[in-house]
């Protein structure tokens, strides 16, 4: 971990709008080739954090450093290797996809037509690139939004709710695209989302934010593994289970129950079951989904 370069560092970010404190000291760090998922309930401060990182809103206190440049003191340098989509991919609807990309390309040095074509191919819009955006579906707009965000080969890509409003097919495509970008173009990615399944399959790190505070930052596996040792048994009947299984168990239905034990205990339980003429069809360690972990951490969805 330590040899990886630090791309983005947010230190003790505070944001006040009027008397309301939206962010109360957010710390986020992204290293090279990280895909960090910023998750939290609606109104937790995800979008605000992203806007502070991008310099779209004033920082009340704290600092944002991107590639070693402070966003407040040295905005143009800090932002020059960042690509982003905030909220929706807001594009110029009366222009074609290509014209939109050209506008973005004009504002960075050294982006030629070849690079635009390359990016268009990357997001798979070759066939529709000369259509007006107003004729695009939401999925295509998202992809074009990503295209314009990665034109200048940023090393940090920031996406705010990138799969919002996409159908399952679109979500899968987006996920594959982002994974490929992270590998191929060596980008670190910051994704905010409340779609946990999306984060789970895409990110290697998560940052859980609630009420303007980061309550957990860690590798995805660690978050999920924290709760382990839960085994699920599928049997022909659970009716008289408690007469012979001494371990603490939880009957889910007529055919399934769970037991929370150490691994070594599992064969003993199986043996007990067999001895009592219960047919065992399946024994499995249940991995906790991110959703469960998330709900457990945040303890519901409370917005101040």
């Amino acid at each position: 971990m330590s040899e990886q370069a630090l791309i983005l560092k947010c230190e003790n970010l505070h944001k006040k709008i009027g008397k309301k404190e939206i962010l109360k000291g957010v710390n986020v760090a992204i290293y090279e080739s990280d895909i960090l998922g910023l998750i939290g309930p609606n109104g937790a401060g995800k979008t605000t954090t992203i806007k502070l990182i991008l310099g779209l809103q004033n920082i009340t206190s704290g600092s944002v450093t991107i590639n070693g440049h402070d966003i407040q003191k040295d905005f143009t340098k800090a932002i020059s290797k960042v690509g982003a989509i905030i909220e929706n991919p807001d594009l110029y609807l009366y222009l074609t996809g290509f014209e939109n990309l050209k506008l973005a390309a004009n504002l960075y040095p050294g982006i030629d037509k070849k690079r635009i074509d390359e990016v268009v191919k990357l997001v798979g819009l070759e066939n529709r690139i000369h259509d007006k955006i107003s004729k695009y579906s939401l999925g295509m707009r998202q992809r074009l939004g990503i295209a314009q965000a990665i034109l200048h080969k940023p090393n940090l890509l920031i996406l705010d709710e990138p799969t919002n409003g996409l159908d399952p097919e679109g979500i899968k495509q987006m996920r594959d695209l982002l994974k490929m970008l992270a590998q191929k173009e060596k980008m670190s990615i910051l994704i905010s989302s409340h779609n946990l399944a999306e984060i789970e399959t895409l990110c290697n790190k998560v940052c859980i934010i609630q009420n303007g505070q980061v309550i957990e930052t860690s590798d995805l596996e660690t978050v999920k593994k924290e709760e382990h040792g839960l085994y699920i048994f599928e049997v022909d009947s659970t009716k008289q289970l408690n007469t012979f299984v001494s371990q603490e168990n939880h009957i889910l239905n007529d055919n399934e129950f769970t037991v929370k034990v150490e691994k070594e205990e599992v064969p003993n339980i199986v043996q007990t079951l067999v001895e009592n003429h219960v047919k065992v069809y399946r024994v499995e360690e249940e991995k906790m989904s991110l959703e469960d972990a998330f709900l457990k951490k945040t303890g519901g969805n409370i917005i101040d």
């Binding site: 709008i17 979008t47 806007k51 991008l54 310099g55 779209l56 809103q57 004033n58 905005f75 143009t76 340098k77 932002i79 020059s80 960042v82 982003a84 905030i86 909220e87 929706n88 807001d90 594009l91 110029y92 609807l93 009366y94 222009l95 014209e99 050209k102 506008l103 973005a104 004009n106 504002l107 960075y108 314009q148």
Partner: protein, 490 residues
């Protein structure tokens, strides 16, 4: 910066609204040029009505009754004049002019004699009848020069007499007042003689053509100028304005007569082109206010501002690029409107008209100055720019401060409409405190070529100062707000 400006231009030029407005403007330009060329032929209708009216009147009156006599003679003379006018194609022909100004009096004299109104001596009657018949003959032969010659001869004689009277008055040391009035008479006659001589020399008939009008402008204007210059007492400012206007009209009329040009003609393609800003100003303002009022706020309402603000440029640079784009668009719009007028006017009234240079009267040197149309239009445009830039800045500032496109456009347009009312009030009621208000000051074209402003309390340097002050006052909060603005959720 240049890339930013280029992007802004692309965004504007790809929008349909600007082209729709341009097409409407073009339609209006075509309409304007066509309307100027349609000869209003009210004449024949009007004459027919008059003739019917007088005929009716004649039926009701009895020339033998003493009480009706005078009315009868009046009506009959008018009827005969109208019939004659109708015969020669109305009042706009040279005959029309002659009939109304010269022949009518003879018709009246003859009628007076016939019905016994007043005392008409037999000698006078025969002479009148002779002259009348001679004139009718000349009308028939289309011989306007005969009238011109007669005019000149008559004026020459009058002038000679007047000069003799003046010399005599001077020799007997007559009262100053008498001498002055005689001098005035001599000068008036000299002008008239000049006009009569020009008429023959330059072949200017009495028809309602431009040069005939120029002759009458010269004649009447010259006497107004003499009156103004003679009186030493305190002058009202509007009299002075009138004097400046007349000075220009007379000198341009003189130039045109001498050069046989139509440089002062206002309603051909060239004339309308030179008055582009008078005719089409509202279109220029609508287009530029539309652009400036939406260039910032539309990006906010569509959310695209976020894309722009995370590009590696400072916010002030982005705003400056947008403002410069507005100014470039303003120049393009002005050029387009002029270009459309050039082509449309050229097609309708002929492109050869554009060969006549622009002719202006320079109040500083008191001389007529010729310049190319392009040079004149360039000077005029520069002088008019403050109006457009200030309105544009107003729309731009409102658009940035309130993120409300419709509001910015509406307020800027209302400001333009209100400006003429405020200026009128300022001038009419001499509201001196309005001299620091922007609208009486922003039209620098009123100072062109040494002219004086419409509003008496302002001067060129004050106007420039006021314009710059308003410009800066509007821009400072715009920049401050845009620089610090939080991009809220859209």
């Amino acid at each position: 910066m240049i890339n930013l400006i280029r992007n802004e231009m692309t965004k504007i030029l790809k929008k349909k609204s600007i082209y729709i407005t341009l097409i409407i403007t073009l339609a209006f330009i075509i309409l304007t040029n066509v309307i100027y060329q349609i000869k209003m032929n009210w004449d024949s209708d009007y004459l027919d009505n008059e003739i019917a009216f007088y005929e009716e009147q004649l039926k009701e009156l009895n020339p033998k009754l003493a009480s009706d006599k005078e009315q009868y003679v009046d009506a009959k003379s008018n009827l005969e004049m109208d019939q004659l006018l109708k015969q020669y194609g109305g009042t706009n022909t040279w005959q029309g002019e002659i009939i109304r100004t010269k022949i009518y009096s003879y018709i009246y004299t003859l009628n007076c004699h016939e019905y016994g109104v007043g005392e008409v001596a037999l000698e006078e009657f025969t002479q009148a009848k002779q002259t009348y018949e001679k004139m009718l003959e000349q009308l028939k032969n289309d011989d306007w020069k005969a009238f011109a010659m007669a005019d000149r001869q008559e004026i020459t004689i009058q002038l000679k007499q007047a000069k003799e009277e003046l010399a005599q008055a001077k020799s007997v040391n007559a009262e100053k007042k008498v001498i002055e009035s005689l001098e005035e008479q001599v000068k008036t006659l000299e002008t008239s003689k000049q006009v009569a001589e020009w008429r023959i020399e330059k072949n200017i008939s009495y028809d309602s053509g431009y040069l005939n009008d120029a002759l009458s402008v010269y004649e009447s204007g010259s006497s107004q100028i003499r009156n103004y210059e003679k009186e030493n007492d305190q002058k009202e400012y509007n009299e002075k304005l009138q004097y400046y206007q007349t000075l220009k009209d007379v000198n341009i009329a003189k130039y045109d007569i001498e050069h046989e040009t139509t440089s002062g003609k206002a309603n051909d393609g060239r004339g309308v082109l030179l008055r582009t800003f008078d005719e089409y100003e509202i279109f220029i303002i609508i287009m530029i206010v539309m652009i400036a009022g939406s260039i910032v706020s539309e990006e906010f309402s569509k959310g695209t501002i976020k894309l722009l603000l995370i590009k590696p440029y400072k916010r002030t640079t982005i705003l400056t690029a947008k403002f410069i784009t507005c100014i470039i668009m303003l120049l393009i719009v002005i050029l387009l409107v002029m270009g459309m007028q050039f082509v449309v006017g050229g097609i309708i009234t002929g492109f050869d008209k554009y060969q006549t240079p622009a002719v202006v009267y320079n109040y500083n040197t008191h001389q007529i100055q010729e310049m190319s149309l392009i040079s004149y239009l360039a000077q005029l445009t520069v002088a008019k720019l403050p109006i457009y830039i200030l309105l544009m800045t107003l729309a731009f500032a409102l658009s940035t401060l309130f993120n409300h496109t419709a509001l910015s456009i509406t307020i800027a347009l209302l400001g333009y409409m209100g400006s003429s009312i405020i200026n009128m009030l300022a001038i009419q009621f001499k509201l001196q405190f309005l001299k620091f208000f922007v609208t009486p000051n922003w039209d620098l074209s009123q100072y062109l070529f040494g002219n004086i402003p419409q509003f008496q309390y302002i001067s060129l340097s004050l106007s420039i100062g006021v314009c710059i002050a308003y410009f800066i006052i509007m821009l400072i909060p715009t920049y401050m707000v845009f620089k610090k603005k939080n991009i809220k959720n859209i």
